[in-house]
């Protein structure tokens, strides 16, 4: 089965770009291809002029491209704090021998990582939950943990797969605010989202996928008025808002 065919789009650095489209349009497939979870059978994915195609997810993360998942994805048994501390993996430098030797520099690094984790937990507003196991948190807060873990990896490009899914209206407002603040820090944000109010509210550019093709691309207002988009959503494959 071909989930994506001849899809081509560009993401402007420092922007918030949303990918929308009916279920099965290939949004998550595109994410998986970009972040190395799927190997595309053809085509190229480049970042900053360098090819990402065929790299493993961890290697892509090392290049500053970090994703979240559609289904809530945290380290369930770990506390919120430890989730984020784990997310700081690439920020640490200690190798095996350094760890065994247990130098003083190592303790200093651990302290600075812990402080950084605290800051990130505070940024997503979970300081009051920091010692609780992630699995015990309500759904919306787990999604915030997930965002915090991704942010800990210091992305230059952050891919969010339905960050608002399953959240209450109020929580979505919070997440939208966080995404904007992330962008203000110079991070490029690419997101897949079903909630149109959220998409239109925060995006600079919206890309519409349908049947594995890009059918429209532009500013939110232009997309809302685009005839083919209206047809895709209200026509044959109606049923998803």
């Amino acid at each position: 089965m071909t989930a994506l065919e001849r899809v081509s789009f560009e993401v402007r650095p420092g922007s918030i770009t949303s990918v929308i489209g009916p279920n099965g349009a290939g949004k998550t497939t595109a994410f998986n291809a970009i972040t190395g979870y799927l190997r595309p059978t053809g085509g190229r994915i480049t970042y900053d002029g360098a090819a990402l195609t065929g790299l493993r997810p961890s290697a892509i993360a090392r290049r500053g491209i970090v994703r979240t998942f559609q289904k809530t994805s945290v380290f369930p048994a770990l506390s919120v704090e430890d989730n984020v501390l784990t997310g700081l993996h690439l920020r640490g430098t200690a190798g095996f021998l350094a760890v065994l030797a247990g130098r003083r520099r190592l303790a200093a690094e651990e302290r600075s990582l812990a402080a950084e984790a605290g800051d990130i937990v505070e940024f997503v507003g979970l300081t009051h939950r920091r010692r609780e196991a992630a699995s015990g948190l309500p759904y919306g807060e787990q999604r915030l943990v997930e965002l915090a873990v991704a942010l800990a990896a210091r992305p230059r490009v952050l891919l969010l797969d339905e960050p608002g899914a399953g959240m209450t209206g109020a929580e979505k407002v919070v997440v939208s605010g966080l995404i904007r603040r992330v962008r203000e820090q110079g991070v490029t944000v690419l997101l897949v989202e079903h909630d149109m109010r959220m998409v239109m509210g925060i995006s600079d550019t919206v890309i519409v996928l349908n049947g594995g093709r890009v059918i429209a691309e532009g500013a939110p207002a232009a997309i809302q008025a685009h005839p083919e988009v209206i047809r895709a959503y209200l026509g044959a494959s109606a049923g998803t808002p």
């Binding site: 993360a61 994805s73 760890v99």
Partner: protein, 310 residues
């Protein structure tokens, strides 16, 4: 664990031979220490990366045979033999770790079992090298400077030092970004990769360290019993290690040690208390009860009870 409690334990371990009257008790303490090393080694894989190696006796056996052969055939002294044993077991761990990348879960378990089976067959059939089922007698006792560690008390301190070293290695790893990466792989591999954890690197690293540590246990065992036979590859050893780790608390630092002490002392205590059939029955009942009432293990339950993290 509170600091005072920890020091009390250290003091207890250091003075143990003074408290124990009979050499038999010291023997039990030595075996507990060796199994402590083995259980800590298995815990690194099972508890932290979540991969179950049911062939862990292979690394133990490789360590035991290597150490015995190097001292007997090459006539090297104990310490370099120990180093070779640890190194060779680590190399075996490297290959198993590479395999683990392609196979997870049940398949990994099967591969580790087969690996142990193959190594065991080699030990039985390569008679020129291993002396086959007859085993290798006369493995020399270690010498430390001018002292021979021939007595049980001296050997106890050697084992205690090895256990302390293994514990320190585990502790440093676990409380570092390496330990966090291992736990990340256990908890959620896809998410771990998305934040840049290199699965290959960390699984192999865990397997190498774990196997090397099991090799250390094997070497200590060989020079203690002074005899190595294909028995060291028995599945029972692996099962005992798994029981120790699971009962003590997998994924905790103290758990495997607690499990090792408990499940070394307990069968011996039962032996004194009851006839053979009752021993096995009591052992089984206790095991079922432990798993039923303390599914996460003794140490996590205890630390939850006294309100300590980790």
């Amino acid at each position: 664990m509170t600091r005072a409690g920890g020091w009390l334990l250290v003091a207890g371990a250091l003075t143990l031979p003074l408290w124990l009257q009979s050499p038999y008790h010291v023997h039990v303490a030595i075996m507990a220490g060796i199994f402590g090393v083995l259980a800590m080694s298995l815990n690194l894989l099972l508890g932290y990366t979540g991969q179950l190696s049911l062939g862990h006796a292979a690394f133990f056996g490789i360590g035991a045979y290597t150490s015995a052969l190097v001292t007997l055939k090459l006539e090297w002294s104990f310490w370099p033999a120990l180093a070779v044993a640890v190194g060779l077991a680590g190399v075996a761990g490297f290959f198993i770790g590479r395999l683990a990348l392609k196979l997870r879960g049940a398949y990994f378990v099967l591969v580790t079992i087969s690996f142990a089976g193959v190594i065991s067959l080699v030990s039985v059939n390569w008679i020129e090298l291993t002396n086959g089922p007859l085993g290798l007698p006369g493995v020399p006792a270690p010498v430390f400077g001018p002292w021979s560690l021939r007595t049980k008390t001296a050997y106890y301190y050697l084992v205690l030092a090895a256990a302390a070293l293994s514990y320190a290695v585990c502790r440093r790893i676990v409380r570092s970004r390496i330990g966090r990466a291992l736990v990340a792989l256990r908890e959620n591999e896809a998410l771990a990769e998305s934040i840049g954890v290199d699965v290959t690197h960390y699984l192999v690293l865990a397997a190498v360290v774990s196997a090397a540590m099991a090799g250390l246990g094997g070497s200590l065992y060989a020079h203690y019993t002074r005899f190595v036979s294909p028995e060291v590859f028995l599945f029972t050893y692996t099962v005992t290690m798994v029981i120790m780790v699971v009962a003590g608390g997998k994924g905790t630092l103290a758990g495997p040690l607690v499990g090792a002490v408990l499940f070394t002392v307990l069968p011996e205590a039962l032996r004194a208390a009851a006839s053979w059939q009752w021993q096995m029955l009591a052992y089984g009942v206790l095991l079922v009860a432990l798993v039923f009432f303390l599914p996460r293990g003794i140490v996590p339950r205890l630390s939850a009870a006294i309100g300590v993290r980790r």
